[in-house]
């Protein structure tokens, strides 16, 4: 049995079976598995090609490995002269620059391919010298992957790679940018929306978002400030209502009337933790909100209670636990 016969068997039967299988399975594959199945099949096809190349080059050959390596090398040497992969129309010199960058990029990779094969030769020579062996095509494949990856790591860290890679990206971007402005000015002449116009809008929108966020923060801060002064102002007016005689008179005299926080500052705070449901930490938070005495708490109206509840995130406890009525009772006792 020689390689020639087997080459036929492998190429015809194997590839045919594979194509059949792929066309059978393809319509039944759910989307997410589609890509992966295709990659697995592609690699299997590559491996089959690998097998074909290996067997094909071994007609009348006494050294299968050498034949294979020589065949691979020829493939890499031929590669750059097979013409550019991408047939870009040279509309502008930017397109030409991009094309040149692509050629340089591919040339660098073909040179790398040759380097990898050379390194593989050397590795196998060493292995043979050390008494090792390769027992399967798969082992050869894995060795090729290992050695190539090592060589690639050096290649990828070279100045040459850095140059061809950045040239490729930069010339592509320059070319695309030119194309975009040509398209843009054409759209403009038809009075149609352009990317530039959209970008201008998006930029303005982003700034609006930032401004809104800043305003929200400012409002929050102002609300927190306001809630500290609010109960005090109420406190002055309440006594004026309750006591019909002397207080209003006192309030009218501008020199003495003080609708300022001062009276509140003089008032001694009560121990609000006597109210069931209010602990020391909550007492602190109520104080920050301007409520420090049973009187102040008892004076909270239902609407204010809801507001307080929301602001301090009390989950309805103010009304549910009857803080106001408790405070009213405790106020009477103190």
């Amino acid at each position: 049995m020689n390689f020639d016969d087997w080459s036929d068997v492998i190429t015809k039967n194997w590839k045919q079976t594979q194509e059949q299988y792929w066309s059978m399975m393809n319509p039944q594959m759910p989307n997410q598995a589609d890509d992966v199945m295709k990659r697995a099949t592609d690699m299997s096809k590559s491996f089959a090609q690998f097998a074909e190349d290996f067997t094909k080059t071994n007609n009348n050959s006494t050294n299968p490995l050498e034949s294979w390596l020589a065949g691979m090398e020829q493939g890499f040497i031929n590669w750059p002269t097979m013409g550019p992969q991408n047939n870009l129309l040279s509309m502008t010199e930017l397109a030409e620059k991009y094309r040149e960058s692509m050629k340089a990029y591919e040339a660098a990779f073909s040179a790398h391919g040759l380097d990898a094969l050379q390194a593989l030769r050397e590795r196998m020579a060493k292995m043979e010298k050390d008494g090792g062996s390769i027992k399967s095509l798969r082992e050869l494949y894995e060795l090729w992957v290992d050695v190539s990856e090592e060589v690639y790591a050096k290649f990828a860290m070279s100045k040459q790679f850095q140059d061809v890679y950045s040239n490729l990206v930069n010339t592509f971007v320059a070319f695309k940018s030119e194309m975009d402005s040509v398209v843009g000015s054409q759209l403009n002449s038809f009075n149609m929306p352009t990317q530039q116009a959209l970008d201008d809008l998006l930029k303005a929108l982003q700034q609006e978002k930032r401004d809104n966020e800043a305003l929200r923060k400012r409002i929050k801060a102002l609300e927190a400030e306001k809630s500290v002064t609010k109960p005090t102002a109420k406190k002055v007016s309440k006594p004026a209502k309750a006591k019909k005689a002397s207080k209003p008179t006192a309030a009218i005299k501008p020199a003495k009337a003080k609708k300022t926080p001062k009276p509140a500052a003089v008032t001694k705070p009560d121990d609000l933790t006597k109210v069931k449901g209010i602990g020391p930490r909550l007492q602190e938070r109520l104080a920050l909100a301007g409520i420090k005495t049973f009187k102040q708490l008892a004076a909270v109206s239902p609407e204010e209670a809801v507001d307080l509840d929301t602001r301090l995130e009390l989950q309805g406890r103010v009304l549910r636990d009857g803080w106001i009525s408790q405070a009213a009772q405790l106020q009477g006792k103190s």
């Binding site: 016969d5 590559s46 399967s136 990856e149 790679f161 950045s166 959209l198």
Partner: protein
């Protein structure tokens, strides 16, 4: 024995075995049900634009660390790497070690994010999340854990708001992009970033994921998919493969302005280590980081080489600084069984002592 001993029959046999595995595999792939990651129970407690703040259900059977922990993931790839699958979840590991865990899901940027900047992400969104977590726990400080670029962001944030961070954990976090073995830094060096972002706007996610593949193309393509055929008849192994594959290619687009600053200032000009990165109106001075820092890195990481991650040690002023290395590639700490045995416990132990 000769060096190379292989008969044509043997080659045919190899191909036949491959064929069989491929056909079994096709059936397995076709009948595979949904691949779910992000498996640990959680609530969404805060939203802002596309951002969602996840709060995981604490493990009540263990003693709790009362300081909440906020995980800050990268903008590149999706955060469910931290909660990958049952038995491979950093989040679950931390919960089981008594941590109260929150995680930021940045969402998928779209055209509206064309002008979202690092300032918007850090001083806006991240700060809002930190404030939200602190408010919920009635505290002024939390613990922060950053993953990869999320770690870089955590470093910037901790330098800008040191009072809000009690302890900082960085994992596989790039700091110095000009180390000699830094492939990403090497490739990025001469790219015209301004022109790139001006022309492409948001950077498409698939461009980034393809670029990652190109770091190790032989392993990531030739070897990986050939090896896939080997395991295709094993439904459990196949499912694991597919879960990781799904995550690898689940790449959000990168918001234009944020990407511009990250690539230009932080990667190309390495300004993080010279204290010249300006976020909003303030320069990031890493010396402002004085809280305890725990730095976890991977020894075989080709995306974030150890030298890049370890650079942080010299740049901060924290006296309490500890490193932990793990022998794997970039995502090993999160998806390997061994990683999950070691890393969450180590982090939790370190946090609990502080």
């Amino acid at each position: 024995m000769a060096f190379f001993e292989i008969t044509p029959e043997a080659i045919a046999a190899e191909l036949l075995e491959m064929q069989n595995k491929l056909s079994d595999g096709a059936i397995n792939l076709a009948s595979m049900d949904g691949l779910t990651s992000g498996v640990t129970a959680h609530d969404i407690v805060f939203e802002r634009d596309k951002l969602r703040l996840l709060h995981y259900k604490i493990n009540e059977s263990v003693t709790q660390n009362t300081t909440p922990l906020l995980i800050v993931y990268s903008l590149i790839n999706r955060p469910y790497l931290a909660d990958f699958s049952k038995g491979r979840s950093l989040v679950q590991g931390l919960l089981d070690a008594g941590q109260d865990v929150y995680l930021i899901d940045w969402g998928y940027p779209d055209a509206n994010d064309r002008f979202t900047s690092l300032d918007d992400y850090l001083n806006g969104a991240l700060d809002a999340c930190v404030d939200e977590v602190c408010k919920r726990h009635n505290t002024s400080q939390l613990n922060m854990l950053g993953i990869c670029q999320g770690g870089t962001f955590s470093l910037c944030y901790s330098a800008l708001y040191p009072a809000k961070i009690r302890n900082l954990v960085t994992t596989v976090t790039p700091v110095d992009f000009h180390t000699p073995d830094n492939m990403l830094g090497h490739w990025a060096k001469n790219i015209n970033t301004d022109k790139l972002v001006d022309t492409l706007g948001n950077i498409p996610g698939h461009v980034i994921s393809r670029m990652f593949t190109t770091l190790r193309p032989y392993r990531q393509i030739a070897q990986k998919y050939r090896c896939l055929v080997d395991i295709m008849d094993d439904t459990a192994a196949l499912k694991k493969f597919m879960q990781l594959e799904k995550w690898l290619f689940d790449s959000p687009d990168q918001a234009g302005e944020a990407f511009r600053q990250f690539l230009k200032d932080i990667v190309q000009q390495n300004k993080l280590i010279t204290g010249q990165v300006v976020i909003g109106t303030q320069a990031v001075d890493l010396k402002q980081i004085n809280m305890p820092v725990f730095n976890v890195y991977a020894e075989q990481d080709n995306l974030v080489p150890p030298a890049s991650a370890k650079a942080i040690g010299e740049l901060i002023s924290s006296e309490d600084y500890l490193e932990l290395s793990f022998n794997s590639g970039h995502i090993g700490p999160f998806v390997s069984g061994k990683g999950q045995k070691i890393i969450p416990a180590a982090i939790a132990q370190w946090l609990n002592k502080r």
